[in-house]
Symmetry: D2
Subunit: 355 residues, 4 copies
Amino acid sequence: MTVKPINFNSDNVVGASPEIVAALAAANAGAVASYGEDPISARVEAALARLFERDVAVFPVATGTAANALCLAACTPPWGVVYCHREAHIAVDECGAPEFYAGGAKLQLLDGADAKLAPDPLAAALAAGGQGVVHHAQPAAVSVSQATECGAVYTPAELAALAAVAHRHGCKFHVDGARFANALVTLGCSAADATWRAGVDLLSFGATKNGALAAEAIVVFDPALAATIGFRRKRAGHLLSKMRFLSAQLEAYLADDLWLRNARHANTMAARAAAGLARLANRGVALAHPVEANELFVRLPNAVRAGLTADGFLFHGWGPPVAGAPDSVVRLVTSWCSDPADVDALIQRATHHAK
Amino acid sequence: MTVKPINFNSDNVVGASPEIVAALAAANAGAVASYGEDPISARVEAALARLFERDVAVFPVATGTAANALCLAACTPPWGVVYCHREAHIAVDECGAPEFYAGGAKLQLLDGADAKLAPDPLAAALAAGGQGVVHHAQPAAVSVSQATECGAVYTPAELAALAAVAHRHGCKFHVDGARFANALVTLGCSAADATWRAGVDLLSFGATKNGALAAEAIVVFDPALAATIGFRRKRAGHLLSKMRFLSAQLEAYLADDLWLRNARHANTMAARAAAGLARLANRGVALAHPVEANELFVRLPNAVRAGLTADGFLFHGWGPPVAGAPDSVVRLVTSWCSDPADVDALIQRATHHAK
Amino acid sequence: MTVKPINFNSDNVVGASPEIVAALAAANAGAVASYGEDPISARVEAALARLFERDVAVFPVATGTAANALCLAACTPPWGVVYCHREAHIAVDECGAPEFYAGGAKLQLLDGADAKLAPDPLAAALAAGGQGVVHHAQPAAVSVSQATECGAVYTPAELAALAAVAHRHGCKFHVDGARFANALVTLGCSAADATWRAGVDLLSFGATKNGALAAEAIVVFDPALAATIGFRRKRAGHLLSKMRFLSAQLEAYLADDLWLRNARHANTMAARAAAGLARLANRGVALAHPVEANELFVRLPNAVRAGLTADGFLFHGWGPPVAGAPDSVVRLVTSWCSDPADVDALIQRATHHAK
Amino acid sequence: MTVKPINFNSDNVVGASPEIVAALAAANAGAVASYGEDPISARVEAALARLFERDVAVFPVATGTAANALCLAACTPPWGVVYCHREAHIAVDECGAPEFYAGGAKLQLLDGADAKLAPDPLAAALAAGGQGVVHHAQPAAVSVSQATECGAVYTPAELAALAAVAHRHGCKFHVDGARFANALVTLGCSAADATWRAGVDLLSFGATKNGALAAEAIVVFDPALAATIGFRRKRAGHLLSKMRFLSAQLEAYLADDLWLRNARHANTMAARAAAGLARLANRGVALAHPVEANELFVRLPNAVRAGLTADGFLFHGWGPPVAGAPDSVVRLVTSWCSDPADVDALIQRATHHAK
């Protein structure tokens, strides 16, 4: 049917918000101090302090992997253990960046529905962690993704419960917020309530997937944790000389709630797709996880999947293919600029193929 | 005198070329594959292959420190030694990035006029390197900066002599080309003659200082050396998801010889400043190093330095201050967008203060 | 009952074989070259070559953790993955030594009865390993313990099946042989059949637990793998200057089959204990794993465990205690010098408490 | 002349003191707790506390490289700098162990007569260290060797001056005491005066070169510094399971001042050789460094060196050979068991060849 591909592969296949591109161009004028000593960088730190309703230490970087790895390295000694979900981006999709930055620390992988950690299994794992015994790597941090890799969102209460367990065992609590905006829009609470008031010690505050070109901010709520990050960032080659161009993206992202508007649109599009596909439940189409942000995980009969692919829709299979199975799970990601017409086309064609 | 500051602190205090900013905006349209699988990234690799007149492996990254550290890590085992000048950026200004990326390798610091390595001292150091003896870290790589940290430029013959020494001792030969364009303009030769034809194995091809926002390309001439860099880059958080925005900068940088035009302007401005200051030789003003690219190192009588600072000129002192000395060395860096009027104002005011 | 404690805590709580202590004293005479250039070290390498019926590269070290970590570091890049059992010593009891030595590599933990890996789950894990994809850490090695941490022994056929899977996925196959002697005595085959003929690439050949003071040998069957180990060992501080004292232990260990005699005694003592305790099956005493080497894992009713402890028997609980459970699993380890009378006392007192 | 070689290559070519070998044998009896929980290890810690007249944290290890690397890793972050002499063992002879253990820290090499650091150049280097600036690796530790690699000994006052400089710049002060006993005998002061009372924060307390088989003790005077060493040692594979055998060496070493008697003998032998060779001053034989411990650095005319080698005397050349030079420097090391007759033979034959 379609000629041009409609790309639901990820929220990083699309471009940047026009406001952010315009901000880059505007930031280009004149000579300013390099390495973050420019006025835009100062304004970003102030804007994040206002957003989070407290002093924060801010370290902009160009990628989420850098943000996560720097955060975790600040929390754990080389002989430390970071507890995270088995499907966490830090465990699966960063080619060992946390281990590299943390000098050889371990990730301990836990299970949990919808890629969420739960307090009791976490507490059990930490209790078995051998704290203080030199034979064992030492519990150091707990990291969760908000939203999760399965598109679910932690409530502040859920975060607080996990943070309490983490802190009780002497661990720091980190949030990989590559899709923090999408989660916050769903929660409808303040950024403070979704982070430090719930016990979060440091946050990878994502912007790239939600309308920036390449910009994330490490936001540190625990001042003691921030002490080493400046050195770690420089040493990792993540301190940009013309930092204004990174900070300008973040400033525009935060201005006029662009970030929340972008995320709201992406979430709305995901919900629209989910509602449309849910009508095919009696034809073998099923959501594999609740749709709480901008990702859908959908079980599709083989004919539906093949048909959509032939139509030109792009999306990724999720999990290893099972030979001979009548269906499989795919991931569809909507973005700040998803076209409702494309979503509707998806629903319409899925309905067609599922007949 | 002046009200607005005139900033000669570095070539990273200025913005980006309009062509490059425009290319970013143009790259924003539509959905494309992420992580470097986009068409712009493919075109950049092709453009660099044309430029260097051979197949090359290309890895764009956002900073020169990342480019250097990834290059060196590809060359040396954790127990390796990288030989470089005592004033090399990799030794002095990267907070140990090479050591981090290379898993604890060593830099061995050599002396040499104008921050240049010379073949004989290099050969002597390598000969004393204890190759094959387990007690000693092992010679693995030689790295030079082109142009050097003192603004000097290696000729192809000089590079070839160093490369021959490096290769004779089983070492790879790396060039930190943060200011490669400025050097090439001075040399007037082809990029191939200034690199692999002279024995260079891999190059940090700089663009940020010369008109990009944040873009460098690792260019690998020895295919065997490229095998690990993809993993290293991802693991370091330097594989951008929306890679098109990095590649678009490089594409515009190379298009229509923008990179050479930018560098030529910067060099011309440096030469103009040098010529003007040279006329003050009999009043205690002296060039500390030859001006072969876009950096000047100038010995200024204290009154001249203080006067220029009071006028609003920005520049850095070079080397530790010496109490009681009548003069000191400062560094002035011109850029792709230096205003000739600002250069002339510098000369005029220096002449005034040096009276 | 007993006054003096009878210690089944581990095979590392006992001393060294008199033959080995005597060899140390004998090795003390005269001046010899240091760092392994002495004649005893040369003889050990020759003895291991004879034992394994082929050329081998040998690197003596003082601990099993060092042997394992050096072996694995030789197999995996920093972005590699080592597949091992969830209960493997390298995963649980080495405080992250493999990750340290391998520059931040990952261990991927697999399940399997009796702490043994099985080919199919291993193949599935490797197939899902994302080989060649830069987002994922890369399959690099498979490591098994022989005997396992649950006292089980792999047959040569079982090893060969695992090695075939490992090699098919480009991985090296390592054996942690801290209790290799105990396993070999059970198998009754040649050392060659139990290692390289079954596809083993490198072996941590243990001696400490089986009668040495502090001596293990890294034995490398794949010559290409040995190239970096000398540097890695030195750099880790594991190249002893007076190496003769490490090599003398290994020489005496191998001489006159002392190592096999020691292991046979330990195994016999474990079998004797197992047979005795098996007679209490109808009173709630049960073996948790087959006893195939010198370790017993026994489920004991609480009263029996408490009674034995009160009697002065020393052993470790295995796994986290479960509140309210009527019994628990303990580990008992016999050694090269276990006294049959002590084993019989254990059986007798367990029988008494289990009445 | 001689038939059997007389080995002055190093103090690690000789065996161990009979008292220490006997202590090993004595330690062999019975079962004791492993990993340092045994009574001998506790007694060693107490003995070192008595020796140093204060509480100390003690970590026995098998090699000096391990002791040094663990000490330095405890002092420096991965982006730290350790200041040491250009000829320091940690810089030259450990294949990058400090860099490995410290996660990629740097050594900054300083000059100084007789391989000794001097306070003023150290202070200048530290002042130029860019403390707090993220572009630069950060001053973290100062390390000196006592005795030095040229056989010189620091007085307590000299150590105190260096320690004061180190501490003023926020650095820890480490002493590599591979030959601490030899230095202390020369100084004639207490161990406390030569260490913590002079500002030493942690010490690699050597025994191997002075009569042990393979035993060194990390002695930490600053309790905060000790916190991580237990984990680091285990993770490096340097926590011996049968630790009693390491501790037994140290206990015997300290008992009845064996360590001081051994060192005194070695020093006396070195002085005897120095006195004998000094009589050849008018024949071109000259001491290159003062002989203050058990090492001699002697400039020998080529004929004398060749003659001694032909006689069977073993020693190492020092520094790279210079083609065409009429003489060269060699190093001769005496030991706890050097035979005065061998020393006299050396003098006699050197006199013969120098005629």
